[in-house]
Symmetry: C2
Subunit: 150 residues, 2 copies
DNA sequence: TATTGTTATACTCTATAACTATA
DNA sequence: TATAGTTATAGAGTATAACAATA
C-alpha cells in the first residue's frame, strides 16, 4: 500500500471533525455533543452503568462521569442502585425527556436523510462497516499504540 | 433508509475520535495533532497561505492562525511575502525540518500498515472514498446546517 | 467594502492523578 | 488488591468577536 494512501486516510479522518461539528450545531445549545452521545446510548440500550458507557464511548471513565453528571443535573437521567454492584448505579432516561430526545434524534436523522439522498443504501452500510472495522483495527487491540516517539 | 442506520452512522463517527486520539499519541509531545495537520498539508502542497490551509482543514481561520503561529515559533516554518497579495504570507517547511517531519510521517504510516494488514487495498480505498463523499455531502454545501433548534 | 490575518476570550472535550467507596 | 466512580487540574481544539492591514 502506498504511503500516500495512508496519508490521505489520515486527512480524511481529520475531516470527520468538521462533519461532527456540523452535526453538533443542530443540537440545542444546552446539550453539547458529548452529553447527547450519552443520552443516545441510554436511549438505545436502556439501563447502563458509567463503566458500560465508557467502554462504548472509548474515552476515560472520568470523561463519562462528567457528561453523566451534566445530563443528570439537567434532568435527563434517573439513577437507581445497581443490585449487582453497590459501587455503581444504573442510569436511565426519565420518561419525561424520552420524547424530547427522540425529537432531537429525528431532527438529525432527517438532516442526514436529506443530505445523503444521493447515497445508495449499500454505500451507507459499507461506510458504517468500514468505520467499525477501522475502530476494531486501531483502537480495540490492547496496547496497540506505542507510548511516544523518542 | 432506517433511522437505526443513521444512528449507527453517528455512533461510528463519534468512534473516529478515539482513532484519532490514538494516532495522535504517536506524535512527539511538542507536536500536537492540529499542528501536525498543518505541517502535513505543507509537506504535500508546498507553499500555502493561511486561507488555503483553512479551506482544507475545514476550521475557522482563527484556528489555523493559531496552529501556524505555534509551528512557526517552534522553527518548522518560513514565511515569505506573497507577491500576489500583500495581506498574506506564503508558508513553507524549513529544509532543516523536512526530513524530521518525513520521519514522523513514516512512523505513523508503518503503524497503520501493521494494524491494517488484514485490510484489502480495495477496502482502504473504499473507506477513503466514502469518507470524502461524506464530507462533501455534509460539510461542503454552503449553509447546509440550520443554526439551531428552537 | 471585502478579504486576510491576528488576538482575546470562552467553551467543549479529553486525560492524568489523587481520592472514596465497594467488591 | 482490584474495580467503579468522583473531582481537580491541565492541555488541546475550536468558535466568536473585535481589530488592523491590504485589496
Amino acid at each position: 500500500m502506498e504511503q500516500a494512501t495512508y496519508r490521505e486516510l489520515m486527512h480524511r479522518l481529520s475531516e470527520v471533525g468538521a462533519v461532527k461539528r456540523g452535526l453538533a450545531r443542530n443540537l440545542p445549545p444546552d446539550l453539547p455533543a458529548g452529553s447527547a452521545g450519552v443520552l443516545g446510548l441510554l436511549s438505545q440500550h436502556g439501563e447502563m452503568t458509567i463503566s458500560e458507557l465508557t467502554e462504548v464511548l472509548a474515552v476515560d471513565i472520568s470523561v463519562t462521569s462528567r457528561h453523566v453528571s451534566y445530563v443528570a443535573d439537567q434532568g435527563w437521567l434517573e439513577r437507581s442502585p445497581n443490585p449487582a454492584d453497590g459501587r455503581s448505579r444504573l442510569l436511565r432516561l426519565t420518561d419525561a425527556r424520552r420524547d424530547l430526545l427522540a425529537g432531537f434524534s429525528d431532527h438529525i436523522t432527517e438532516l442526514l436523510a436529506e443530505r445523503l439522498c444521493d447515497w445508495s443504501d449499500d454505500e451507507v452500510h459499507e461506510l458504517i462497516r468500514l468505520m467499525a472495522k477501522l475502530h476494531d483495527s486501531l483502537v480495540c487491540p490492547a496496547h496497540m499504540f506505542t507510548h511516544a516517539r523518542s
